[in-house]
């Protein structure tokens, strides 16, 4: 753990992410205004000392909206990735560990999800289920879990051949014991790396869906929705789009940077996976 902090990439991204998370959690304390507060006199104001990031078409403070937006985006990112991770790792480990027909079924299922471009799949699902935050998250989970299933399966196949798995079986341990005590702890690092890269991707995809009007309602403070709402004023009041865009970029980059750092820092196993072209 401490060794991870020797990696400059990890430290830098952790600082940025820490700041973002702090901002999201304490948005109600830190934000200069309430996000519902509309000031129709001061619509579309450029950045000033009163409104550091300017105001939008309803006179709401953009800095406030961006801060609350961090809440929505990070929540979506973490929630979607946690659920996808749980589903994907469970299925991937089962497929890899037991093999045979179970593997066949699970992998065909993942393949059929992977057969569509992910954005297309998410679009189709939200279009089908209807607009809204919950449906958007379901759509993103549908896309994201396959990543974890594949990584977990690949790593499990690797761990399964190890002597300690055989040795545990030969002292009478059950399959459940072996999976919980030996397999999961040994596949956790590639999974965590995929998770941190995944959060970035999910935040970007969520913003994309909201921008297209398929995610969060345009009036709620969410970065993608803010981009959508600001699009009409792009030429006259570019700050409406600039600040949420900047934060999306920063967040996604920080998560990817963190994931890459983890990957570099963590064990040899990743190198083997890389050789097999899984990343």
């Amino acid at each position: 753990m401490i060794e991870l902090l020797k990696n400059r990439q990890i430290v830098l991204s952790l600082i940025i992410l820490g700041g973002l998370i702090f901002m999201a959690i304490f948005a109600n304390v830190l934000a200069p205004y309430a996000y519902t507060e509309k000031d129709l006199q001061n619509r579309l104001q450029p950045p000033s000392s009163d409104h550091l990031f300017g105001t939008d078409n309803l006179g709401r403070d953009i800095l406030t909206m961006v801060m609350y937006g961090a809440r929505a985006s990070l929540f979506v990112g973490f929630a979607v990735v946690s659920v996808s991770l749980a589903i994907g790792v469970a299925l991937g480990v089962l497929a890899g560990y037991y093999g045979g027909w179970l593997d066949e079924i699970i992998m065909r299922l993942t393949d059929s999800f992977l057969a569509f471009p992910s954005m297309f799949l998410a679009l189709a699902i939200t279009a089908f289920l209807g607009q809204g935050m919950k449906n958007m998250m379901l759509a993103l989970i549908a896309v994201e879990w396959t990543v974890f299933a594949r990584v977990a399966r690949g790593s499990t196949l690797d761990v399964k051949t190890k002597g300690y798995v055989r040795a545990a079986r030969w002292i009478g341990a059950s399959n459940t014991y072996v999976i919980v005590k030996h397999v999961l702890p040994n596949i956790i690092s590639p999974v965590l790396i995929m998770a941190s890269l995944g959060i970035g991707n999910v935040i970007l995809a969520a913003a994309g869906l909201s921008f297209l009007g398929l995610g969060v309602q345009p009036s709620t403070p969410e970065w993608g929705a803010m981009l959508n709402a600001g699009r009409t004023y792009f030429t006259t009041a570019p700050w409406l789009m600039f600040f949420p865009g900047l934060f999306i970029m920063m967040t996604v980059l920080a998560f990817n940077y963190f994931g890459d750092g983890l990957r570099d820092a963590l064990d040899q196993k990743m190198k083997n996976l890389e050789l097999e072209g899984r990343f």
Binding site: Y164, A167, W170, I171, G172, N186
Partner: protein, 304 residues
């Protein structure tokens, strides 16, 4: 105690063009309680394959293994559970027998934890006793496998294998990766444990000196077959291959170290597997050779 009958193992590799390789071919053997049997033979002759089949880690292509009269081969996992712990293998490569994310103490305690029925104090007492038995100190306990030397690791693996009080311990080249003094130490540790606990020991090795020193009986393998078996094999070798093996050690002669192609026999050749390299071969050697009893020694060569 452990009895194997007519064990065969054929490996199939390759997806499109499959290649078959007979690693073990018709091995019969029996191990008695408290006995040390050494299995020697050159690299690739099928020693590890045989060991894995004996402990049921590998299903034989054909043939059977019995433990105290019960047939183990073909038994499902639930029934096999009764024999768990009684037969333990110390594999050729000890590196991955221990979970890299577990301290070695936890790995040695694992058999007790899995089998249940002991309190935490009892487990830790048992673990301490095992560490002492293989000559490791408390200082090694909290370490991870990569923080131990090869010899220490090997001893941790032995300690773990001893945890469930096995009646038979199969050591696949337990010492070949170590330097001479550590080798001698581990051999001594094993021998001491054996006399103390009276367990059967199968000692697979390249090291003829070690084999001679520890064993009550020696099996010489060549190309997946047992070619000679008996008590004083090294003092009075009867099979030409055993003699060549001993010569290779005594004189480090190079002519036994031949290319794979040179020793390959024509397809469908059923005669003596050692035919190509044997200095004493005659036309009669093209006939299949059986293990013959030559005054208490089993030899697979008509000449002896």
């Amino acid at each position: 105690m452990l009895k194997a009958e007519n064990l065969h193992c054929v490996y199939t590799s390759g997806l499109i063009k499959t290649v078959k390789k007979t690693a073990v071919c018709g091995v019969d053997l029996e191990i008695f309680p408290g006995e040390t049997v050494a299995i020697v033979g050159e690299s690739g002759c099928g020693k590890s394959t045989l060991a894995k089949m004996l402990v049921q880690q590998l299903a034989p292509t054909s043939g059977e293994v019995f433990f105290e009269g019960t047939k183990l081969t073909g038994m499902n996992w639930n029934n096999l559970g009764k024999f768990v712990g009684k037969i333990q293998l110390i594999p050729q490569n000890p590196d991955d027998v221990l979970d890299p994310r577990w301290t070695v103490e936890r790995s040695v305690a694992e058999p007790f934890v899995v089998c249940g029925g002991l309190s935490r104090e009892e487990i830790s007492e048992n673990v301490d006793a095992l560490f002492a038995e293989v000559g490791l100190s408390a200082e090694h306990k909290p370490r991870y496998p990569h923080e131990l030397s090869g010899g220490e690791l090997q001893r941790v693996v032995i300690a773990r294998a001893l945890a469930l009080k096995p009646e038979l311990l199969v050591c696949d080249e337990a010492t070949s990766m170590l330097d001479v003094s550590v080798q001698a130490f581990i051999v001594a540790v094993l021998k001491e444990i054996q006399t103390k606990r009276g367990l059967g020991l199968v000692f697979i090795t390249h090291d003829l000196e070690a084999a001679k020193a520890v064993s009550d009986r020696v099996l010489v393998m060549y190309a997946g077959e047992i070619v000679e078996e008996g008590k004083d094999v090294f003092d009075r070798p009867l099979h030409p291959y055993t003699r060549a093996l001993l010569d290779a050690v005594r004189y480090a002669s190079l002519d036994v170290v031949l290319q794979e192609e040179d020793r390959a026999l024509p397809d469908g050749f059923l005669g003596c597997p050692y035919f190509r390299l044997c200095r004493e071969r005659t036309v009669a050697c093209k006939e299949p050779q059986k293990l013959r009893d030559v005054s208490g020694r089993l030899v697979r060569c008509w000449k002896s």
